[in-house]
Symmetry: C2
């Protein structure tokens, strides 16, 4: 926390020093101003912000930490808060009010201008994690019939109220999206002031539908290097845009969620330190219990082979090592395939190629581990009575490792593809299944290989 | 692959139909044009591209797949390729030539205009994954003494050659960065044409140093919601900018790298399907072998307790289950802490809070698994002769589970913080250590708990 200016700020507040407080609000980049206010409580923060003009107040407010924003909205004068909210970008307003207590929202709604209220109610209808929920409705939108000169004048009026003019969307009279001109094109065309937007615009546009998933949005923006992507409804009417900063935020959230899911944690909605321990225990407990149930199947499997393990007790020594090698190999494959699917490098139709590669890689990896396994099993059992009597027994662990590592790779790569095919989230489903299946497979393969080889061996002894 | 237009394209090439090929190049969004060309070989692609004007040719070329770009540069006429390269954004040019054979680069360099050549040689000096290696040197840069009117005129000349004019940077005569105006501000100020940039500009700027790490760039851009971030040298001279699309790409690469490292795969430099199987086997093999070596320590640990396991053979049944519970808990904690550190939610100084929370969560989770473990161990050993003779024995597995899950959580959360403290990459180092330590801890704790309880028990029998 940045507490550098905190004493001065508190002093200014105590003195009600309007001049200095105004100076503090205007001197710095709004993000920095917000940083310096971190130590203030919500009421103090609001008292400081009232010394900035509405535009600046809005900018600084957007950089405050989320909890403080909510707390300000819930605790401060409704009319003043409504004035601030009315001026925020539509997408930020929806996100904020989403976390505000419902009775406060009910009190604030009637105080918003009719346009903003209608907007808010409309945006609130879109399900979470859809393009509609991410978008803002403030768009630089111009009629295709305008000339460059008219467009520039029109735009200089709109610019003050807009979150962005990176792209200017060109629409017909029914707001159907027709094309786009960039601000760069417009500035470059200053010399040709009589040209119409309809001629200047590019009409082959990349768009998303309002009900498209958030992942579809990040995928398209990244693929086409867009600054902002227009959102259209089913009739191809322009309803909003999603800007690069929201895409980056969505992308970060997704990456964190995917990482958490891969580690068997139900995604946290808050940051780690802000999530209370009971929620944390719950989000981890669900998957830990599921993983425990699959792991307990290993006990059952071992129980099945108990009589044989009693006969060859040294076999037991290598069970954890073999299981974890299969699990690690499966985990590697699953993560590689899941990240490759996220970036669209691997598609469902590639499954044959994936399978072929994983079998190859699995056998190579298995062979390397087998070499180590051979050394290890010879070393660990060299004093056992059965040792050195037969050529076959030191091969039990190496042969098992090749098969286990390869089947781990196959399971780990095919399960995510299968879950994707079934319409399930591969990141969420794969981990417990890969772990469970490769654990059981590990024991069954080990026991089958050892029993086969040892039966031959005792037959020959 | 999009093969819809492939026959038509090939026909046009066979007929040398300049009119239709030109039409094809101009009709669509450049990204889409590139998609339709996916099926063509590099020589065919180049023949198509020659029908687009230089500006458009450049745009379409940038959307071709990387391998085809490299192959075109290496195989086609050097002078024509140099003409294209000279026109590309500086950062893309560097990235491309990075993968082109060195002898081809040597042949192309003399054909580039002096400015671009100097630029290229300068950019190539920055180490990979630094801000300098990500930036482009084409910047909208204006002198602070200009008026709004002069700036707009100047800018309309610059705009054609620039990758972006999202922000216009204001510099003094020595190119020291003084401030920034947005294109929005400039358009809004069209009415005040005599105002000087020095008055209009915002001077509290967020910048990165050319030698800063890529992660620092993505962190700042995400935190401050920037469209582009200026890169300065040690003397605070403006040397380049990094734009949002490069930040998004960097962010995606980092997220994929982190996920791969968490699963014990050395980060791939190419996408999954483009990485040949030997590279893949190598990148997985290193960590799989390290993990195997730590896992083989479990065999050693079991060997130490072999005599006692012979005495109580049912203990063996639960070894894999207990080990995997500790490992899963550690894996969850490690991932939570690593993702929280990536987004700066957890800092090194938070270690006490993290430890406290993990102990609490670990004990709660351990208690839940203990309940299942109690049922399971009672069920699995109900026919063993020793069962039901003493109250203590069914407690062995549950007590072990509580301790193992809690120590897994502690190990998993403290190791990443420790690696960070030592200046190592937590995502890379944590997984094998967490797995190794929690495996060994699992066995040692299990054996200690069981021996203590069983000794009491046999003493009383």
């Amino acid at each position: 926390m940045n507490t550098l200016f905190l004493p001065e700020l508190r002093e200014m507040l105590a003195e009600n020093n309007a001049h200095d407080l105004e100076e503090f609000c205007t001197a710095l980049n709004p993000a920095r101003t917000a940083e310096f206010m971190e130590g203030l409580d919500p009421a103090e923060s609001w008292r400081v912000l009232r010394h900035a003009d509405l535009k600046l107040r809005e900018q600084i407010f957007l950089y405050l930490v989320h909890e403080k924003q909510i707390s300000v909205i819930e605790s401060q004068d409704r009319a003043e808060v409504a004035e601030l909210l009315a001026d925020l970008p539509a997408d930020d307003r929806v996100d904020l009010l989403h976390d505000v207590r419902e009775e406060v929202v009910e009190e604030i709604l009637p105080l918003l201008p009719a346009d903003e209220r209608r907007d808010l109610l409309k945006l609130r209808e879109y399900p979470e994690n859809t393009a509609g929920a991410m978008m803002t409705t403030e768009i630089a939108m111009l009629d295709e019939a305008l000339t460059v000169r008219e467009a520039l004048t029109d735009l200089s009026h709109q610019a003050e109220h807009l979150e962005t003019i990176y792209y200017i969307y060109v629409v017909d009279h029914d707001l159907h999206l027709r094309g786009v001109v960039s601000s760069r094109q417009l500035v470059s065309a200053i010399g040709k002031q009589q040209q119409r937007l309809g001629e200047l615009m590019r009409s082959d546009l990349i768009t998303v539908n309002a009900l498209d998933d958030r992942e579809e949005v990040t995928r398209k923006v990244a693929k086409y290097d867009l600054l902002a992507i227009p959102v259209v409804d089913a009739q191809r009417r322009l309803v909003g845009i999603i800007t690069h900063d929201d895409v980056l935020d969505a992308f970060r959230e997704e990456a964190t969620e995917d990482a958490q899911q891969l580690a068997g944690v139900a995604p946290l909605t808050e940051s780690y330190l802000k999530t209370d321990v009971f929620t944390l225990a719950w989000k981890r407990g669900i998957w830990l219990t599921i993983l425990f149930v699959t792991a307990s199947l290993t006990a059952t499997a071992l129980k099945v082979f108990e009589a044989r393990l009693d006969e060859w007790p040294w076999l037991m020594l290598f069970v954890p090592m073999i299981m974890s090698s299969g699990g690690n190999s499966g985990n590697q494959s699953a993560t590689l395939i899941i990240t490759a699917m996220t970036t669209s490098d691997v598609k469902l139709s590639d499954w044959r190629r994936v399978l072929f590669r994983e079998v190859l890689v699995g056998m190579m990896l298995g062979a390397v581990l087998a070499a180590f396994g051979l050394l290890l099993s010879w070393f660990m059992t060299r004093n056992h009575p059965v040792a050195h009597h037969h050529l076959l027994w030191p091969l039990v662990v190496p042969i098992t490792l090749v098969i286990v590592v390869t089947s781990g790779a196959i399971t780990g790569s095919l399960l995510p593809l299968m879950f994707k095919r079934l319409g399930l989230d591969p990141a969420m489903m794969s981990n417990p299944f890969v772990a469970g299946i490769s654990d059981i497979l590990g024991i069954v393969i080990y026991m089958t290989v050892s029993m086969t080889l040892l039966a031959k061996m005792t037959g020959k002894l």
